[in-house]
């Protein structure tokens, strides 16, 4: 195995690994500061922050010969015997000079800059820069320019690392951004008439190591040091990108991509990035209500029976009684539910009616999969857990039942009660489809918003959104990721899992991890979920062959 010497420390790297000095040093626990290098983009070695001393140890004699000048760590590949020195006087001096040069005309407006607190220029200056400013110019404000519908450019804060330019050329493949002028007058800009409006545009804000690119959705909303982050999974489509939900006091402020080589690498799409606003929509259902009479009672011209608002503790028992009294049950298991929730829902349904008809809920689809030149794919299937719910349904002998099968089943009069779980962020059902359920003895609907189906329901139960759930989602490639709840649902709303947990008569607080362990032990298709789940998730099929 090749050996690399980082600051005197020998580390082994893989025989066919192609690492640069920054990556090799990171293995040894040494962080080489860098601005322009990003693992997902091409190497330009323009910021000069990662300059280090490098050399080669002769395998036979053991003599080390160093390259006389400093070399950029990002552009220098390592091989067997490469010697890297990151903390010599020469390197330190070079870093201080680079920092000084970057800050000559960088506005010192950190108090009003949204990047402050997570800014590499701040961090590196604090660590590697000098305390005194020798330049006699003190710029305080930055010019601001719109580059797209979601992104603002603060021109003077830019340090010309060109990560954003390379992103639009290499990953999104749209190439809207460019560098204008030369030398000290260099600026990032868009081509006239071609704004930065591609579907991955938000990523340039994450890539920007300083505060030059700002997300209009987040700009001025909150200082970053107030935010707490929770590792979550995006529920926007079946790709299941790893994200961080950044929140404060139960309010989500932004979503950030979380590096996951198995799923989304470093990026997320804008649809997912801004797909949290429905969580704080005023229109959300917040109370559990029950109405006397069959489904669609109020819609049939008869006087609307008064809705009775119920406490959740009462819902548990009365819902069970109502469904038992109603007879044969049909259940739609929403692909927005987690694996744990789906399994509990199926168990509850079968305990109420052993012959219950279980089917996958409505699967929202919007267009085809869209793959970008960088390999990132936005899926057309706009739900996160279709594969997981299908696997759960297969355990209950109902694999392959789709939403249309359920509609046909109900339309044929084979069910007298239906339990529809939904939780979709957008409107999903029309009047005609909802009319299928009219006249059922009992119709339970769990959803985020009012809908034609909700108007018919005897039981209207509020659902929760992605950041408010905990559990496991299985994406389009059968890759399962577990996550915890990031924020609490609005006051008075129980997550679906908590209702199912209580309906199963389990004691204590709802614990999705316990359910996952039980599922992994009892069901072969979920064996891979056993034990501690890695942050990047596991392939659900991995242990089935063994």
């Amino acid at each position: 195995m090749p050996i690399v010497i980082v600051d005197g420390q020998e580390i082994e790297i893989g025989a066919d690994e192609r690492l640069n000095c920054i990556e090799a040093a990171r293995r040894a626990g040494v962080e080489i500061p860098h601005y322009c290098w990003h693992p997902g983009l091409s190497v330009v070695a323009s910021c000069r922050m990662c300059l280090i001393e490098a050399g080669q140890r002769d395998a036979e004699t053991g003599n080390v010969s160093m390259i006389p000048k400093l070399v950029p760590g990002c552009q220098t590949p390592v091989k067997d015997g490469t010697v890297i020195v990151t903390e010599s006087e020469k390197v330190r001096e070079s870093r201080a000079r680079v920092e000084e040069a970057l800050l000559i005309d960088h506005p010192i407006d950190c108090p009003i800059c949204d990047k402050a607190g997570e800014c590499l220029l701040q961090d590196y200056h604090f660590e590697h820069g000098q305390a005194e400013r020798r330049a006699d110019i003190h710029p305080f404000t930055s010019r601001k320019r719109d580059v797209g519908p979601t992104v603002s450019l603060f021109v003077d804060r830019c340090i010309m690392c060109t990560r954003c330019v390379r992103f639009t050329r290499e990953v999104s493949g749209t190439g809207e951004l460019m560098v204008t002028s030369r030398g000290a007058k260099e600026e990032i800009d868009v081509f006239p008439g071609f704004p930065l409006d591609n579907k991955l545009a938000g990523n340039v804000v994450d890539l920007c190591p300083v505060g030059a690119l700002g997300d209009k959705d987040f700009l001025y909303q909150q200082r970053v040091w107030f935010l707490k982050r929770e590792a979550n999974v995006c529920g926007g489509c079946s790709a299941g990108c790893s994200i961080y939900t950044e929140h404060n006091q139960d309010t989500v402020y932004r979503l950030k991509p979380r590096e996951n080589p198995e799923v989304n690498t470093w990026w997320i799409c804008d649809e997912g990035r801004y797909g949290w606003h429905h969580l704080h929509d005023d229109e959300r259902l917040l109370t559990a209500t029950r109405r006397e009479g069959p489904a669609g009672h109020a819609g049939n011209g008869s006087p609307a029976a008064a809705d009775e608002t119920l406490e959740w503790a009462d819902v548990v028992g009365r819902l069970q009684t109502d469904l038992q009294a109603a007879g044969s049950l049909a259940v739609a298991v929403s692909p927005m539910l987690t694996v744990e929730e789906a399994w509990m829902l199926c168990s509850v349904a079968r305990s109420i009616d052993p012959e219950a008809f279980l089917a996958l809920g409505h699967v929202p689809v919007a267009g085809d999969d869209e793959t970008f030149p960088g390999g990132f794919t936005i899926r057309g299937e706009k739900c996160p857990n279709k594969r997981g719910v299908e696997a759960v349904l297969a355990l209950f002998g109902s694999g392959g039942h789709s939403w249309n099968d359920l509609l046909a089943h109900v339309a044929a009069g084979k069910a007298s009660a239906a339990w529809i779980t939904a939780g979709y962020p957008k409107a999903w059902i029309d009047e005609a489809t909802a009319a299928t359920f009219t006249g059922l003895a009992c119709l339970v609907v769990q959803d985020l918003f009012d809908s034609p189906l909700m108007a018919q329901a005897t039981w209207r139960l509020p659902a929760v959104g992605f950041a408010e759930r905990a559990g496991t989602w299985v994406n389009v490639a059968h890759h399962a990721q577990s996550f915890r709840q990031a924020i609490r649902p609005p006051a008075g709303v129980w997550p679906e899992g908590r209702l199912f947990w209580n309906m199963l008569g389990r004691r204590g607080l709802y614990d999705p991890v316990a359910i996952r362990q039980e599922l992994a032990e009892s069901a072969a298709p979920f064996a891979a979920l056993a034990g501690e789940m890695p942050a990047i998730g596991v392939d659900l099929r991995v242990r089935q062959l063994a």
Binding site: P111, I112, Q221
Partner: protein, 177 residues
Amino acid sequence: MKPDDPSITWLEEKPLGLAERLYLPLFVQGLATTARHLVSPKVTVSFPEQRPAVGNPLIYRGVHRLNRDEEGRVKCVACFLCATACPAHCIDIVATESPWPDREKYPEAFQIDELRCIFCGMCEEACPVDAIELTSLLDLTGKSREEMIFDKEKLLSVYDMTKDAEPMKSASLGGTL
């Protein structure tokens, strides 16, 4: 830590001497203190009929004010540093893009819960543009809790009220702006 921990040094109480046991010398000492205060000048003030004198208004920590710049606009740039420094979490700011070309950000709303505030002065210390200051107003009263939550307008009006008696501290103290 347990009683037999080696890092604990146990001290014995000193036995009482003759003076302590007699009690009389200590009694006289106490009486002397009382007598001294009887004849010394009074420091008690009959508030509210009489106003206490504020020693140095520059360092007195009373009601907050939000300063205005030369053009009469709120000086605050909505950087949230006061809210970050505040140990009582009594400052609530809503920032937005400023309507003026020379400024990027300004507070759309700025609230201080004066009931929650502990008047430590950290907000004043944290402010990078000397926008928030503590005045020497000390009698802060109100009829309801809501009344004691000061909004931007009220904080600016405190500035208008006190600016003549107490000029902005930044000028005399060599502030940043």
